[in-house]
C-alpha cells in the first residue's frame, strides 16, 4: 500500500456521497424555517398575560434574562395566587469527586423515569470537554477492552489513546458508566483518576423549568431533559423520541425573526409553522439520466414559538405528523415552571 492507494480509497469513500440535490432541498426547507424564527420582539410586558384555556400562567415563568442577566426570577405582583407549576427534575445517579483543575460542569442530560436510564454530564475547560455517560450495558461496547478494577468497581479499559471513551465502569443493575476525554493527551490516566473518584450522587439533578402537558395519544416514547450553558445564558429542553417522530420543546435565549403564521399561543402573540413531507424539491433535484426518477425524502418540522421576554424563546418543534390544532394545544399546555437551579453552571 502507498499514498496513492490511500488517496484512491478515500476518493472511493467520498464518491459514495449522496446527490446534493435532495440534501440541498432539505437544507433549504430547514433554513426557511430557521429564518421564520427571526425578529418579532414581543414586549416583555405581554408575557404576563394568562394562557387561554389553561391554568398555566406565563407570568409565573420567570425566564426573563435581562441585560445584564439576572438569575433571580422576577415575579409579577399581579399574578393570581395559583399553585406554582413545576418543571421536570431527574436525580443524577453518579458524580465524579475529582476533575482536573479548571473544569466546570456545563451540561446535564437525563431520561425521565419510566424509560431506560441514560444520563450524561459534561465538564468543560476552554474547548476541552470531559463527559460521563451512564447508559444500559452493551457487550459490543466492551469488546476488545481490558478488564480491570477501579475504585472497587469492575472496569473496562481501552489501550487506544485516540479513543475518547477510555474507561467504562460497571454501574450495577445492567448499567455502564463511560468516561470520555475529548482532549487528546494523557487521556487514560485522567479517565482512570476520574473513574476512581466516581461515587453515587442522588443529590444533583438535571432540572428544567419545562414539563410536557398534553400530547396526542400516539406520541409516546422516551423523554430526555437537558440543560447546558452558563448561569446567565443557558438552554433547556425536553426531547421526546417517539415512534411517530421526534418532538423538541426548548427554552433558550435567541434573537431570531419568525415568519410563520401569526397565532395566539399561551395568550400572547406567537407563530406557527406547519411542515410536512417534502414533496417538491423544485430545481434542487437534478433529474437522473437513467434509473427511477429522483424523489425528495425527508420531513420538514412543524413548529410553534413565542417569546417570553429577554429574548427567551419557547419553542415546540416536531417532525411527527401533527395538526395545527394539536401543535397549538401542545404549546398551550406545556408547563413552564420556575427557573431551574443553575448554580452548578459556570458564570
Amino acid at each position: 500500500m502507498n499514498d496513492n492507494m490511500l488517496r484512491d480509497a478515500l476518493t472511493t469513500i467520498a464518491d459514495r456521497a449522496h446527490d446534493p440535490g435532495p440534501v440541498a432541498a432539505r437544507i433549504t426547507a430547514r433554513t426557511r424555517v430557521h429564518r421564520q424564527r427571526r425578529g418579532l420582539l414581543v414586549a416583555a410586558a405581554a408575557v404576563a398575560g394568562t394562557t387561554a384555556g389553561t391554568a398555566v400562567l406565563l407570568g409565573r415563568t420567570p425566564r426573563v434574562v435581562s441585560d445584564p442577566p439576572s438569575v433571580s426570577p422576577p415575579v409579577s405582583p399581579s399574578i393570581s395566587p395559583l399553585p406554582a407549576p413545576t418543571g421536570t427534575r431527574v436525580p443524577l445517579l453518579f458524580r465524579a469527586a475529582w476533575m482536573p483543575t479548571g473544569y466546570a460542569e456545563t451540561a446535564r442530560d437525563a431520561t425521565l423515569p419510566g424509560a431506560p436510564v441514560r444520563q450524561a454530564r459534561s465538564w468543560q475547560r476552554g474547548d476541552d470537554v470531559i463527559h460521563l455517560f451512564l447508559h444500559p450495558r452493551t457487550e459490543e461496547e466492551l469488546a476488545g477492552r481490558t478488564t480491570s478494577t477501579i475504585g472497587g468497581r469492575r472496569a473496562w479499559l481501552t489501550d487506544n489513546p485516540g479513543q475518547p471513551l477510555q474507561v467504562h465502569l460497571d454501574a450495577a443493575e445492567g448499567m455502564l458508566l463511560g468516561i470520555a476525554i475529548d482532549k487528546a493527551g494523557d487521556r487514560a490516566r485522567t479517565a482512570q483518576r476520574i473513574a476512581a473518584s466516581i461515587e453515587p450522587d442522588g443529590v444533583s439533578e438535571c432540572a428544567v423549568s419545562l414539563a410536557l402537558g398534553w400530547l396526542p395519544d400516539r406520541l409516546t416514547g422516551t423523554v430526555t431533559a437537558s440543560l447546558n450553558g452558563t448561569r446567565t445564558d443557558w438552554s433547556e429542553s425536553l426531547i421526546l423520541e417517539s415512534g411517530q417522530g421526534r418532538l423538541d420543546v426548548s427554552l433558550a435565549r435567541e434573537v431570531s425573526t419568525p415568519k410563520g403564521e401569526p397565532a395566539t399561543l399561551r395568550g400572547v402573540p406567537g407563530t406557527v409553522f406547519m411542515g410536512g413531507e417534502i414533496k417538491d424539491c423544485g430545481d434542487a433535484v437534478v433529474p437522473p439520466t437513467d434509473g427511477p426518477p429522483a424523489t425528495c425524502r425527508g420531513r420538514v418540522a412543524s413548529s410553534a414559538r413565542i417569546e417570553l421576554g429577554g429574548s427567551r424563546i419557547l419553542r415546540v418543534t416536531t417532525w411527527a405528523e401533527v395538526t395545527r390544532d394539536e401543535l397549538i394545544r401542545i404549546m398551550n399546555e406545556l408547563v413552564v415552571g420556575p427557573e431551574p437551579d443553575v448554580s452548578w453552571l459556570p458564570r
Binding site: 499514498d3 490511500l6 467520498a14 459514495r16 456521497a17 440541498a24 433554513t31 430557521h34 485516540g162
Partner: protein
C-alpha cells in the same frame, strides 16, 4: 456570495468531504445539513471571511468530532456490517486491497481518521491540520503515524509525512 449560491456551488464538495470523514453518506448528510442550517444563521459573518468554505469545513469537522454527538448516535458495527459498507463503497469486487483499506479507514478512531482525511484527501500540511484540530503538529504526526500503522501503510512509501 449568498448562502443559496454557496449551497449550490459547494454542497457537493462538502458532502464528499463529510462522507470521507464519516465513511457513511447518511451521517454525512446529517452533519452537513446540521452545519449548513447553523451557518445560515450567521451567514453574513461567514461570507465576510476570506475563506467561507474553509470555515464551513471546519464546522463540519467539529461536528464530526463532537463526542456528545457520537455518543448519541454511535451503534457498534459488526464485521459483517463493515464488509457491507466496504462492498457498498466499491462496486468492483476484484479490488480486494482497496476494500481492505476502506474497511480499515472506516474503523479508525475519529481523530485519526480526520487526520488521514485532512492529509490525504484534503491535502493539508501537518501544521494546517494542527490548526484545524486545535492541537500541536506533533500530536497530528502521532495520530498520522498510528493511523498509518493501523492501515499498514509501508513506512518506505510514506516518507513525506515524517
Amino acid at each position: 456570495m449568498t448562502f443559496e449560491e454557496f449551497v449550490v456551488a459547494r454542497l457537493g464538495a462538502l458532502l464528499r468531504y463529510a462522507t470521507a470523514l464519516t465513511c457513511d453518506p447518511h451521517q454525512a448528510d446529517d452533519i452537513v445539513g446540521e452545519v449548513m442550517v447553523r451557518a445560515n444563521g450567521r451567514w453574513r459573518r461567514i461570507a465576510a471571511m476570506e475563506q467561507p468554505e474553509a470555515y464551513v469545513k471546519r464546522m463540519v469537522l467539529n461536528e464530526f468530532l463532537s463526542v456528545r454527538r457520537r455518543w448519541a448516535r454511535v451503534v457498534p458495527m459488526s464485521h459483517e456490517q463493515l464488509d457491507d459498507r466496504a462492498g457498498g463503497v466499491d462496486p468492483y469486487p476484484e479490488h480486494h486491497d482497496r476494500d481492505d483499506l476502506i474497511r480499515r479507514v472506516a474503523t479508525l478512531p475519529p481523530r485519526q481518521r480526520a487526520v488521514i482525511v485532512l492529509r490525504y484527501f484534503e491535502g493539508h500540511t501537518h501544521d494546517e491540520i494542527a490548526d484545524l484540530l486545535g492541537c500541536r503538529a506533533s500530536t497530528v504526526r502521532a495520530h498520522a503515524s498510528t493511523a498509518l500503522a493501523r492501515l499498514r501503510v509501508e513506512a518506505t512509501t510514506v516518507g513525506e509525512i515524517r
